[in-house]
């Protein structure tokens, strides 16, 4: 076909890159499918053409012969299924705790994480009440509005990739590894992203663009459509069986958690989700005896990775629904029951780390106050019944991770911050400029934060997990401090009196005789950390900070249709001391709105092994009319002592409590319990009919 340059398959990629597998936890994902296609939508061939329309038409003429193989889609089935997604497990070696899996065969378990705190079996034997419930979440997708895109230009032993990545340093590392080149021969450039939410972390389309450019000997641009994003990365579906042992006074004395994470066909960062989220699965409560088993499983779905909360919203959905059921069955007010069991500073979390600067109770109180929890509540009447509920969740920071920064003060007194944190709407550029401004006493208008470019901006682990304000904030603070110290030394050298407030340009002129020179400060930041014991999961220092978020919901249920109206949504978080209060509030608000979509409408529907709704036409994200009638967002007065200017991460905390708060409010309104997301009108109506003893037929 005229205009078509190449048609490329996995075998062609193998000729230029003999081991064309990538991934942060496992080297399991081929750049193009080799031998076996593991999920629907997996790329098997590429057409390179001068024009995307030609490429699209040509791609439609490719005929692929598939030999149909049995598949497994459910995470619980995957644990025992005869269908094995990967013949052999190939840990990347990046994570020390995965090395024991190398070469393991005939299993779909990419990671098993176990935590033992106290003696859960004894607690259950001693308990007055025992509760057991199972909750499930569905597969969803980030749908960043700027679909993933990468332009690669590989020539003369040098690769330059322009990419919509959240993690330029990791992409450089991984492409350099695939090419067998030093990292200095690989350059990743990015700019402001049109949303990310975790979709654009680690390698997405960059390895493909790089391989294609290597083959074609010219620049290649790979730009996904919205549909193709659904096949690229998703949020883990999950199943969570949770059991509690409660004594006669309503104290939770033991909790057992079994969590199965549906990681899809390629592990991506799923094993990290399994472990890092896993250790908080028992909830923000002070429970002496906890047992957690958390499994990352391969299935034949599109890969699942990080999505705004790294698995936490799935866990909070289960443990806060469960906690609410217990309170109701024991006849205790849901807030009072939570407060009776809540985790407090100075007490060990189940992982064995003593909680510090974690204001769980204040966050819960903040929601209760805004909802006037102790005042009478209008429960509605007739076919419109009202209820209210809360949910409280928390998250540990991904640890230990490193951020590096360079701060350069120019001779005219302006300043440039070089860091690889990617601004995708969370206003990290603003936060970094504010921090440099504060340390150097340079007005913010004179500070520029450079777009990430791995030839220019130093290493950063990635922009994910609400880690940037804390980690990169510290790196920028320290680098600015380094520059400030050098400026002080220079002032002393040129004979300015100590504490002189002479303008910076004058200082440079005194030193260099004209407007010349630059003062450069730099720093690496890595927090303290103790790795967990493999058998018990225990660590004395599992995280540098805790993120805490709670939501209160007031809902109205139409008992004739199951239709749900969110009358009010209150979101309160502990984000330490905000660097920028307005940005923090909009992050909390935006996170809650996003979680509202995952709670009520968003669902990747799979039938006969195919995704039926990979488009915004059939996959419903929140619009104006999905907003709660009223929404309030806030944060409590708090200080993160080890954080930069008392701050900690804020990008995900608003998601935590939303889903269970709504399910708990529905239970309060009409006495039915929804245990699987999304909470559609149909699900509520089915539950109502079930309760009336008139169940509807299954589809």
């Amino acid at each position: 076909m005229p205009g078509v340059h190449h048609v490329i398959t996995g075998e062609d990629v193998k000729k230029v890159l003999p081991e064309p597998y990538y991934g942060p936890a496992f080297h399991d994902q081929p750049i193009l499918a080799l031998d076996k296609v593991r999920h629907f939508g997996e790329p098997v061939a590429v057409v390179l053409a001068t024009d995307p329309h030609i490429a699209e038409t040509a791609a439609q003429r490719i005929v692929v012969d598939y030999e149909e193989l049995p598949a497994v889609f459910d995470e619980v089935e995957a644990l025992t299924s005869d269908v094995i997604v990967h013949e052999e497990l190939k840990p990347a070696g990046t994570f020390a705790d995965l090395k024991h899996l190398a070469g393991k065969r005939d299993t779909n378990i990419a990671l098993d994480y176990h935590l033992r705190h106290g003696d859960a079996d004894k607690a259950f034997a001693d308990a007055e009440h025992v509760f057991e419930h199972t909750f499930r979440t569905q597969q969803t997708m980030h749908t960043p509005f700027e679909p993933m895109v990468a332009l690669a230009d590989v020539r003369n032993d040098h690769a330059t990739v322009y990419s919509s990545t959240q993690g330029p340093s990791f992409v450089r590392f991984e492409l350099a590894r695939l090419l067998g080149w030093p990292e200095s021969n690989v350059r990743i450039k990015t700019a402001h992203l049109g949303g990310g939410f975790g979709a654009k972390v680690y390698v997405k389309v960059e390895a493909l663009a790089m391989a294609l450019s290597l083959i074609a000997h010219r620049p290649v641009r790979v730009a996904l459509t919205m549909e193709e994003q659904f096949y690229t990365i998703t949020k883990h579906p999950s199943t969570f069986r949770i059991q509690s042992a409660v004594d006669k006074d309503g104290k939770v004395i033991g909790r057992k958690c079994e969590v199965w994470w549906n990681g899809g066909a390629y592990a991506d960062i799923g094993p990290r989700v399994t472990q890092k989220s896993g250790f908080t699965a028992a909830g923000p409560y002070d429970i002496d005896n906890v047992a957690i088993d958390s499994y990352a499983l391969y299935t034949n779905r599109p890969p699942a990775g990080a999505l705004r909360g790294f698995g936490i919203p799935q866990l909070v959905w289960a443990y806060e629904s469960h906690t609410d059921i217990i309170a109701r069955e024991l006849g205790i007010d849901p807030i009072a029951f939570r407060k009776q069991n809540i985790l407090r500073n100075g007490r060990p979390q189940a992982v064995g780390t003593i909680v510090k600067d974690g204001e769980f109770e204040a966050v819960l109180d903040g929601v209760a106050e805004r909802m006037n929890w102790n005042r009478p509540f209008d429960k509605g009447s007739g076919t419109k019944l009202r209820g209210r509920g809360v949910g409280l969740g928390f998250k540990a920071s991904i640890s230990p991770t490193t951020s590096s920064a360079i701060v350069s003060v120019n001779a005219d007194g302006s300043c440039i911050v070089y860091c690889s944190t990617v601004d995708m709407g969370q206003e990290s550029d603003t936060a970094m400029a504010q921090i440099a401004s504060e340390v150097l006493d340079i007005p913010i208008e004179k500070i520029r934060v450079v777009n990430p470019d791995t030839d220019v901006t130093p290493y950063d682990m990635s922009t994910l997990g609400s880690r940037s304000t804390f980690h990169m904030g510290h790196a920028v603070r320290l680098a600015a401090g380094d520059a400030r110290d050098k400026l002080h030394a220079m002032a002393e050298e040129v004979g300015m009196p100590e504490g002189s407030n002479a303008p910076l340009p004058e200082l440079f002129i005194r030193k260099f005789g004209m407007r010349a020179g630059a003062i450069v400060g730099s720093a690496n930041y890595i927090p303290e950390f103790s790795p967990p014991n493999y058998d018990t999961g225990q660590s004395t220092n599992a995280t540098p900070f805790w993120m805490i978020g709670a939501t209160g919901a007031e809902v109205e249920v139409d008992t004739e249709t199951g239709q749900l109206t969110i009358l009010r949504l209150v979101n309160v978080c502990d984000i330490g001391t905000p660097i920028n209060p307005i940005v923090v509030e909009t992050q909390i608000s935006g996170a809650a709105v996003m979680q509202l979509g995952f709670t009520l409408t968003e669902n990747m529907v799979i039938e006969n092994g195919q995704l039926t709704n990979p488009s915004l036409a059939d996959y419903k994200i929140p619009g104006f009319f999905d907003m709660p009638d009223t929404m309030e967002n806030g944060y409590i007065d708090a200080v993160q002592e080890n954080g930069p200017f008392g701050a900690k991460g804020a990008g995900e905390s608003g998601t935590f409590g939303v889903s269970p708060a709504i399910a708990n409010a529905i239970d309060d309104a009409v006495g039915v319990r929804i245990s699987e997301m999304p909470i559609t009108a149909e699900a509520v109506f089915r539950a109502l009919r079930e309760k009336q003893g008139k169940p509807l037929e299954e589809n």
């Binding site: 679909p147 402001h192 949303g195 608000s589 996170a591 104006f624």
Partner: protein, 160 residues
Amino acid sequence: MGGQKKTIGFTLNGRRVAADIGVHQNLTEVLQEEFGLFGARESCGQGLCGCCTVLVNGIAVTSCLSLAAFADGADITTIEGIADGETLSAEQDAFIETGALQCGYCTPGFILMTKQLLDENPDPDDDAIMHYLSGNLCRCGAYPEILKAVKLAAQKRKAG
């Protein structure tokens, strides 16, 4: 494709322009490739998100679903054309002042729809705003701030 070409002429942000386009090309592509205007951008590709909104003869359209060939002779305004030199429009100012954007990818579409709304109805209430903007989606969920921005823009236009 390699296929049929057509030369079209139209007014783009107040300036007469011409372009040789493929007859299959949509307006978003032509604005980006021929004129370097990236304010209208394709996201869903189905006319559902509003990220590709432009004004054609004063009417907001989803440019990813509009064949560029039909722009022949039209008067087209994009987000790049609504400021008066260095002076931003009331809608642009209002979105900035209220922080009604996060990643900003959807923002040009929202601003152009807001402009059209306020042209038709200078004093819309919340319901009218939500209804009018319900064809635009924001994945960052900045809807509460966008509502404030539209109201502020209405005030600014009255004052201005």
